[in-house]
């Protein structure tokens, strides 16, 4: 006769313990992946006096001013923020070779070939100390959107795919065609 086997330990409550732990982690942790608009700040000039004046032709600059009442002044015209994206796109691309928009140059890009671009364009963004952060972020967002839409259009024409679906190599190439060039003015301490 075989001996009676040792009773197995009941593992039914194991699940409960694990659930308890699981719930503890669910409560104490944050799932939020931090998203946001990434920007690179310009390095601090070593000496204020040696700061060289960069000479940029008037037609290559796109001036965006935001005042303390969150109104937009774009190239000396009051503009609704909803129109900023289209205006920026027109400025960057200069589709009709307008004399008041940035100079076009034909350049060769890897994977893409020769494209007419505006390599010298600069978007100058200046905000007041009283501008609300929300407006500032919205403006930054619209400017980024203009670039992204142009990149999308290019990659759609070229490969029939959206920019974000391209592989890294092509992405980089497209990025070079529409190179983001947003400059923020040094904050003014006078005449707030």
């Amino acid at each position: 006769m075989a001996k009676r086997e040792i009773q197995e330990i009941n593992a039914g409550s194991m699940a409960d313990i694990a659930f308890l732990l699981l719930i503890f982690f669910l409560v104490t942790t944050t799932m939020d992946t931090d998203t946001g608009i990434l920007r690179q700040l310009p390095p601090m000039p070593e000496d204020e006096s040696t700061q060289e004046q960069v000479n940029i032709r008037e037609r290559n600059i796109f001036v965006v001013l935001v005042n303390r009442n969150n109104d937009l002044l774009v190239e000396d015209n009051v503009m609704n923020i909803r129109d900023l994206r289209e205006a920026t796109k027109e400025f960057i691309d200069n589709p009709n070779n307008d004399k008041n928009l940035p100079v076009k140059e034909e350049k060769y890009f890897e994977h893409i070939g020769k494209v007419e671009v505006t390599p010298k364009h600069v978007i100058s963004l200046k905000s007041d100390r009283g501008t609300s952060y929300e407006t500032y972020v919205t403006v930054q967002n619209e400017l980024a959107a203009a670039y992204n839409e142009l990149r999308d259009e290019l990659s759609m024409r070229k490969w029939g795919k959206k920019y974000k679906d391209l592989n890294d190599e092509l992405k980089e190439a497209v990025e070079k065609v529409y190179n983001m060039n947003i400059s923020e003015a040094e904050p003014n301490k006078v005449g707030e």
């Binding site: 593992a11 039914g12 194991m14 699940a15 313990i17 694990a18 659930f19 732990l21 699981l22 982690f25 669910l26 104490t28 942790t29 944050t30 799932m31 992946t33 931090d34 998203t35 946001g36 608009i37 990434l38 920007r39 690179q40 700040l41 310009p42 390095p43 601090m44 923020i81 909803r82 905000s127 007041d128 100390r129 009283g130 501008t131 609300s132 952060y133 929300e134 500032y136 972020v137 919205t138 930054q140 967002n141 980024a144 959107a145 992204n148 904050p187």
Partner: protein
């Protein structure tokens, strides 16, 4: 006979489904959450309601990110209603940001120090003045990669294409 006995038992009773693997499944879930999530690190002392934007990127490596919170303090009766800067667990002045960045940078691996990103979590009602001051301090501390933390939504409420 042994075989006969087994047969008889099997016929009469429906075997209960074994729940022995249930803990394994739950543990798997548990480990998944443990790996994918990060513990809440600071107690927010300021109210931060992030603005909306849709041209956003994800911040990939959380260990390379330092956070600066700017917003109205929760305890307005003690700290007033003006937006304040919170670093780690306390209110700080703009001048102390350089110190904070240096400390954060020291805590990182040397190889990662150049990849350091500063995420600005700023309340949407804050004014640009304080944000500009912080940005100037960051430039002085040469922490040049910054991120304006936002919620992913269209800021102007348009329909997405």
């Amino acid at each position: 006979m042994i075989t006969g006995r087994f047969k008889k038992k099997g016929k009469n009773k429906v075997q209960a489904i074994s729940t022995a693997s249930l803990p394994d499944i739950v543990f798997m879930l548990l480990f998944f959450f443990m790996v994918t999530t990060v513990m809440r690190e600071v107690d927010l002392k300021v109210r931060v309601e992030a603005p909306k934007a849709d041209q956003v990127k994800k911040l990939e490596n959380k260990s390379l990110v330092s956070y600066i919170y700017i917003g109205t303090p929760h305890k307005t009766e003690v700290f007033g209603t003006l937006p304040r800067i919170q670093l780690n667990d306390s209110f700080k002045e703009t001048e102390q940001i350089g110190e904070f960045i240096a400390a954060e940078r020291d805590a990182m691996d040397e190889a990662d120090q150049s990849k350091m990103t500063v995420s600005l979590k700023v309340d949407k009602k804050a004014e640009m003045g304080i944000v500009t001051d912080v940005k100037q301090e960051l430039r002085k501390a040469s922490a040049l990669k910054i991120n304006y933390s936002t919620l992913k939504a269209d800021p102007l409420g348009r329909k997405s294409y």
